[in-house]
Symmetry: C2
Subunit: 280 residues, 2 copies
């Protein structure tokens, strides 16, 4: 593995039907050095057990998915969202995840006012920063593809995430760049470079067209679609990003594939499309 | 109808199963003053017949859909695309359409280089401008939703369309703003205002979530989704846009509805959500 390429991490959503212990063993056996965790799996196993299993396998936790979901129709809903985000921060700290990915949620039901929803995201992040700071967890705003703007994220671009993060130090509020969500953006390369030390993580899967029926499940293995990962890697390099490359694929067919086979594909595609060229 | 609101036009794709003569009669009977035409319908009826029917019904043609599709894997493909665009310009002139909407096409098969594809769009537009000018037709670059970036349009935002149009006078190369494609953009209002006299048309349908299986067919009647048309109308007003509001809905259920009923809904929603407030 070469420095600057982002070492390879597996987000556990890629092998969704594997239990936590299986995915940890699978990563270790496949030579994958990092793992991105999901809260439901951590809660099922318990944070302490999770941390112990990961450490025993010699893996690094690269992120926890996910907090966010800040917008709500009323104050009680927003307060509940903040309480849940505080628990997510505590879980991230407990499992040793340096980064908590934030999915900033779409419009509340029946609402059409995007500026209001975006302001609620701004307020939600500001309310979480002290708790995150005291737990040593970095918040990472994750822009989602504009096709999820209505129901999942009113934050759609890297530049928009950078503007939301701007009031806070980069070490406290960063940006999770997911290639699948941002590849189409004509400004993505400049936005990544401009974000510089804000880049807190890099997730990858490929855009396979035509889109599958369920757009949440349409992602492909890196190399199966049309995303120019070389260009994105160049921008991340210019931004000074030296962190992990986390493979996160939501795809029923990938999930139906035996885990070890999926991990072989992930590793092979990493070396072919994602790892930096060089003497490494 | 009030000035500044954009008077109501029906894009014939909304009543896809109606023949040209039926949709023209339907618009006239429903009090809809404008019609947006599609090339296949014009070719089937003949441009001269189309122009005669529209004129006899007292309708204005508001746009012709569509040219574009500039990117191709080789020079022969690009030359064929330009020849087809020249025919589209001639058809627009023949039916009295002031505007030809351009869908700028996605990545060529097997290609991943968005900047190259976008350069081909730039070159394609430049090559068409003289022909369009000599026929009195305005080209209107239509940004499409980023979910169509791979296979339909590498132009995704109003700002990007404005940058593509910038080398040419606004009367020669403008922008078609389609609410369904651009509503999510955090910069959409400022981009529309900044585009000012570049705005060449305004199309509407609503974003209904969750997205239907076929994302091409997921559009709803205005008011059935989450788009804030009041905010968009405000931006268009600030841009000085006084043109038509063209309702263009791709939706199998709308198509299965009897045409007169669809037109009643279109008119009712226009008055409720789209027409400018005021004494009109």
């Amino acid at each position: 593995m070469t420095a600057g390429a982002g070492r390879l991490s597996l987000n556990q959503a890629t092998t969704r039907h594997w239990a936590l212990a299986e995915v940890i063993r699978g990563c270790a056996e496949a030579g994958i050095g990092g793992i991105g965790l999901w809260r439901d799996a951590v809660e099922q196993a318990g944070a302490a057990t999770t941390a112990r299993l990961v450490r025993a396998a010699g893996l690094a936790v690269t992120s926890l998915c996910r907090g966010g979901f800040f917008t709500a129709a009323d104050a009680a809903g927003r307060a509940a969202a903040l309480a849940d985000n505080r628990r997510a921060i505590e879980q991230a700290a407990a499992v040793g995840a340096p980064v908590l990915a934030l999915v900033c949620v779409g419009l509340p039901p029946g609402q059409r006012d995007l500026p209001v929803a975006r302001q609620q995201v701004t307020d939600g992040i500001a309310a979480l920063v002290p708790h995150a700071e005291s737990h040593g967890v970095r918040l990472a705003i994750e822009p989602l593809h504009p096709m999820f703007c209505a129901d999942r994220s009113v934050v759609s671009t890297v530049a928009q995430a950078a503007a939301l993060a701007a009031p806070f130090p980069p070490g406290q509020v960063g940006i999770m760049v997911d290639a699948y969500h941002v590849w189409w953006d004509p400004a993505v390369a400049e936005s990544i470079v401009a974000a510089g030390p804000r880049i807190a993580g890099y997730q990858v899967s490929d855009w396979v067209s035509p889109l599958a029926g369920d757009v949440l499940m349409a992602r492909g293995h890196v190399g199966d679609g049309c995303i120019d990962f070389t260009r994105l890697r160049g921008a991340l390099g210019a931004a000074g990003y030296q962190g992990w490359t986390e493979v996160e694929i939501f795809n029923e067919r990938v999930w139906a594939t035996p885990g070890p086979q999926t991990l072989r594909t992930v590793v092979e595609r990493y070396h072919r499309y994602l790892a930096a060229p060089g003497p490494g």
